[in-house]
Symmetry: C2
Subunit: 556 residues, 2 copies
Amino acid sequence: MTGEARVDFRVHPDQYRHWRLACAGPVATLTMDVAEQGGLTSGYELKMNSYDLGVDIELYDAVQRLRFEHPEVAAVVLTSGKDKVFSAGANIRMLAAAPHPWKVNFCKFTNETRNGIEDASAHSGQTYLAALNGTASGGGYELALACEHIMLIDDRSSAVSLPELPLLGVLPGTGGLTRVTDKRHVRRDLADYFSTRPEGVGGQQAVAWRLVDEAVPRARWDEIVAERARELAARSARPASATGIELTPLAKTRTDDEISYPNVSARLDHGRGVAEITIRGPGRDAPASIGAVHEQGAGFWTLAMTRELDDLILDLRTNELELGSWVLRTEGDPRRVLACDQLLADQHDDWLASEITGYLKRTLKRLDVTSRSLIALIEPGGCFAGSLLELALAADRSFQLAGVREDIDPDADPATVTVGPMNLGPLPMSNGLTRLQTRYLGDEPGLAAVEKRAGEGLAAEDAGQLGLVTFAPDDIDWDEEVRIALEERASFSPDALTGLEANYRFAGPETLETKIFGRLAAWQNWIFYRPNASGPDGALRRFGTGQRAAFDRKRV
Amino acid sequence: MTGEARVDFRVHPDQYRHWRLACAGPVATLTMDVAEQGGLTSGYELKMNSYDLGVDIELYDAVQRLRFEHPEVAAVVLTSGKDKVFSAGANIRMLAAAPHPWKVNFCKFTNETRNGIEDASAHSGQTYLAALNGTASGGGYELALACEHIMLIDDRSSAVSLPELPLLGVLPGTGGLTRVTDKRHVRRDLADYFSTRPEGVGGQQAVAWRLVDEAVPRARWDEIVAERARELAARSARPASATGIELTPLAKTRTDDEISYPNVSARLDHGRGVAEITIRGPGRDAPASIGAVHEQGAGFWTLAMTRELDDLILDLRTNELELGSWVLRTEGDPRRVLACDQLLADQHDDWLASEITGYLKRTLKRLDVTSRSLIALIEPGGCFAGSLLELALAADRSFQLAGVREDIDPDADPATVTVGPMNLGPLPMSNGLTRLQTRYLGDEPGLAAVEKRAGEGLAAEDAGQLGLVTFAPDDIDWDEEVRIALEERASFSPDALTGLEANYRFAGPETLETKIFGRLAAWQNWIFYRPNASGPDGALRRFGTGQRAAFDRKRV
């Protein structure tokens, strides 16, 4: 699964093999109809609407396009094109054959997509409705759990289930355990029982246990699904008559050593285990009005940069496992970044401005849960301001050059960082706090001091004193300090780094999302790695062979 | 380490090999002075105040005795008897040689002890002060982090450090990562840097980064430590002139198949992988007054039962890894349980009543984080009322017999459960909610309906309807249903059960404690299990050999 062709996350509805997207006024229908022979890699068949990463890449694309290309859509019906089955969840043979990092990455991406679906219901006025016209098992039910409203056909055979524990010896890996109790408020002992019943629960019992919102007889299915979709759509503030913008194909070039887009590029240094990423600020002044943003569409800098960064993160995360450190640099005029930010902040009631900001928020969250060491380098000519300052705040460490590089450009303006409106609310982390709030957790005076300097280009001494950057070496020490930091990082246990970063990045409160990425994912990683699941006699490997798994019975 | 002699958690200050406990009026001093040759098992030396489970068992005993035997103690100074070293943390050779379950159990117990220290500062009026008279590394610093105030000697060589990541390729496993950011509010990038520096940070820099509260010159060390201890003691409401009660030796018999105390017993069924635990209610009426509770001392039922249950949990958890399910039964008169509860609740301002309730709270928390399936069986003759009802609420599932056993005792009173004051506040889980609040998370009407029935003995039909129990089978189905539930549980992957239970038991909000047991411990379990740490070339195994660890560089 690795070592084969690189995974490409770029796709277009014309190329979908597994989904059909149909828009009819305020209601869109997204129909899952997985092509059995359409697996991303060989060795398994995607029967019964089971899915692999390729199926989820299309789903992610559809959710994104609905936001940007269909402002008129206010409710999305998620249903199945198969008879009597909604989805059997993640494909077992794919999981059983996949190496550990692939399983972990697969779960992370599918989690992000499901969180994105919830975010659309909560923040985009596009409410998702799961219309389970057949059994939803495992990841299939977890997909439904990400929807705001779950309808199950009441036909004495269709059910919802989480059969991972009894059948596969693993956990439901895409938020099921967390959402069942914390979102749907299923009683914990019923949740326990439910999760041990491979056949699941259907009909009115599923309603009584809060596993679904309603069970609907087949005879009235289409009618009631349509009615609910209209009701959900009616709650939305999306502009029915607005015109969407097209998410045009990304201009990307990709070699073994370089990934390049118009606003983002990365040099892949396999020897040092480092990806050197550069984000470029706007090449021109910000649009004069929100109307001009609509006209620029996918060409508007913030959106273009975010799409490229999103694709880059996914590409590196999936295809470049041994690049353990990502160095983050910026290039450009901080004033232009701040002007784009200001326009988006001022126009937050505009649907497109809101979508662009929300997309940037989700992309930065994707960076936060990425298991790579993030090092921000703040140098002259950079533009770590506002939305791009978030990159430095997301980093595990940051270095800002004090003064200039005497040998390179003694006349340059010293590097600055600038706090702007985008740092003060619109881009929360998954813990519900801004990155500044997380950074200054329990240090209100420190946070207030930083907020007071908003709008000001802060040189290294000031930024260091305020705690906005970790280190502020001068010209003489810079190269050495940065080199040592990167070499040292490369010498540490990659696993311990993953655990350390997963803990330190999410100081403070926990939410459904942090519980899914922290608690649930960590347990799943452990379980995935244990012989009881993935060993030759483990449950994942023995599934479907007719042989029972052989377990080491010790409880740990 | 397993397969050797059973671990015994019972100890007395007269037998301490590693600690000295000295009480002087309101200030106690707990001095760590680990005996190098005093390891619990063979194969390692406990140099530089490094510790193993045996050292921590004594610490736990000391913390408990301070609460009960020393009501006059209002502050506890935790310091070292070694020159220039406070503690080097968990012993590496012990960890490197230990099997995975041992490592996990060791971390769990040490975490519980450190949480207990925090609980003493917060709720017992015994504030812990870490007096670091030398370097505190890894678990040594984590022990200090559990104290309310940290003083570090400022001598140009003493430092605090978390060297686990750079030296051992694992995480600080006893809450360090969580407490550094969430309790002490060290900035996350500084925390990251700190955790990669094996030599740590000392002096005023440690103060500036909030790693310690003060750095004190050697010349004034004794004087200022004493001054701080007096200040902390002065804040306490502990009664200076009260008389403590002695924690007398537990009357315990232990064979391969049975563990027995006066109020608690367990049959160990190795064939079925089940421990059948019975808790007996009070054998006599509750004391007439709180004065009588003081007179009964360790003989008072609630305290006696709690001590026995605590010891049983630790014994089974450490020594019986393959008993994957614990069946919980009670025997006795629910009115007597409720009368003891009521006395404690009415007298919550009395120091001893408060300590007994707090101990029960912590023991139930220990049950919550135990990686065993918990099944409560509520049968005629039982007393699942008030504090003992918490056992059923802690269980993953409960069965209450509807009616009576016609074949056994047709004239018995049907089994009941009774909600009492102890279920409504004094015994919160580590998520900060009561077990009832966790059970009815997001279902306020359900919770209100249960609270309205407080004091009433609820038969199976009522309890089932209210959602207090999972199943209410009758005589005809009982044996079969219970048998199937236990057989089924034994057939599942032990690892997946651990993960499932760790998620479902802690629905709702997260706290420092749940973050430590959920997020942090799960990551640590994964890291411990990976070859990068525990494989023959892993960092844990290679430590001290002069050879560097060989890492699989893939980031997961």
